[in-house]
Symmetry: C2
Subunit: 101 residues, 2 copies
Amino acid sequence: MQSSFSALADPLRRRMVEILRQSERSAGEIQRALKVNQPTTSKHLRTLREAGLVRVRKVAQRRLYRLDPAPLMELDAWLTPYRDFWTARLDALEHHLDQES
Amino acid sequence: MQSSFSALADPLRRRMVEILRQSERSAGEIQRALKVNQPTTSKHLRTLREAGLVRVRKVAQRRLYRLDPAPLMELDAWLTPYRDFWTARLDALEHHLDQES
DNA sequence: ACAGTATATACGAGATATCGCATATAACCA
DNA sequence: TGGTTATATGCGATATCTCGTATATACTGT
């Protein structure tokens, strides 16, 4: 939870996650897509890995990264009570508008 | 988006947000609930404010903080495509298990 | 105007993150 | 074995975050 938020706090890492939503990709493909240099890519991928957001498998020299849905599901679960919160507020607003009219 | 993630990356700020889910609170009430010192509380509240996660209103000397649902709704929206992603994966798993049995 | 209460800000120290450059590791192929 | 490709790690500089202490600001009641 902790680490999911901070891992996703970086815009570059969010772009990586967005790329991986579509399919598994090698570190090099991700790097070229983002147009940042190689060590930077590798370090950010490490952060995502350590946060559990991505998994890797080796194929020859390549490292293929894929999204692990679990931490994002946790994030979704964390949001649940807030969803109730804002629907309650929107309902109240709606009710208020009804009163007005 | 950017700022929502980094604001929520801090555990203390998440606790603040959780407290505010229940009701509007003064800075002092939040401080006492969290048992951290006053300036720390104030600075974290500022961060939440600048991220747009909370709103303040003055009542006498007090500052009453309340949650603004908008950034959390954005976060929820950001998660939407990932929800599709993991249900697809779970469906695939289920299908796989069907094959097995 | 003054003392008290509530909250914010300034400043300095220590910790942590980020980046670029250089280098290490590891698998491949000839 | 040696060269090449793909990826990771080490290191140093800079920036950013966090916290504690001290102080400022602002409103209240007398």
